[in-house]
């Protein structure tokens, strides 16, 4: 399930869904990204996340579909917040359940890496004085995603 929402991101119900397939499935890997207080500029108090309704969901679905082709995974849950987000709040949750630990880990990491470079979200950092600055894409995020296309022919 893929959800884009402006409300606070609650992870408990999503984790419960991922675990609900046990005992048939025994491995759940999840990642939570939280708004940090420092990014390209210091003194960041909140973020503003813009997205492209429709395309964003489709782009994430394409990443999830690709993960499902590469790994033996059972269920995937992606929740991404948009709008204004205070420092310390959750921005993104990606969770994957699988029969196998390694599949859960790798698929979860793959989805996060590709989401960072393929899903249309744009982040603006807002300081205490109200000044906003759009965040530049990180080289490390591009490299993290490229890693998966250079790896073995899975």
């Amino acid at each position: 399930m893929i959800r884009i929402q402006s409300e606070a991101l609650a992870t408990e119900p999503v984790l419960a869904t991922l675990e609900s397939d046990a005992p048939a499935v025994g491995a759940v890997c999840s990642f939570t990204g939280l708004a940090r207080d420092l990014g390209d500029q210091s003194g960041v108090q909140s973020l503003f996340l813009e997205h492209y309704p429709g395309m964003t969901e489709a782009a994430i679905q394409a990443v999830v579909d690709e993960a499902a082709q590469r790994w033996n995974i059972h269920r995937t849950e992606v929740v991404h917040r948009v709008g204004e987000i205070q420092a310390g709040e959750r921005i993104v949750f990606v969770g994957v359940s699988s029969r196998h630990r390694q599949d859960a880990f790798e698929a979860c990491q793959f989805i996060m890496d590709y989401l960072k470079t393929r899903a249309p979200f744009w982040k603006k950092e807002i300081t205490a004085d109200g000044h906003g600055e759009w965040v530049e894409q990180k080289t490390s995020d591009r490299e993290a995603a490229q890693r998966w296309s250079e790896s073995d022919g899975l």
Binding site: G33, V92, M112, K116, P120, F121, W122, E136
Partner: protein
Amino acid sequence: MAESSIAIRFFASLRERLGTGEERLPAEGIACVRDLREQLRQRSDEWAELLSDDWVLTAVNQTMAREETPVNPGDEVAFFPPVTGG
């Protein structure tokens, strides 16, 4: 009656710097993304600069596109900076 215009959308810093989020343009003379981009760049030095930037990405009908991707009447074409979600 067939749709005869193209919907154009701008996002994030591009939207802010161009001062517009969406508009419609006649489809006439536009066969691919490059044609549309070149037409938009005629508007001013600022448009020329912003839409020539290597970092601007394009989507046609909400799918990532290239310069050569065809554009047809009724299509939605979006321009935006590299993404920074998650």
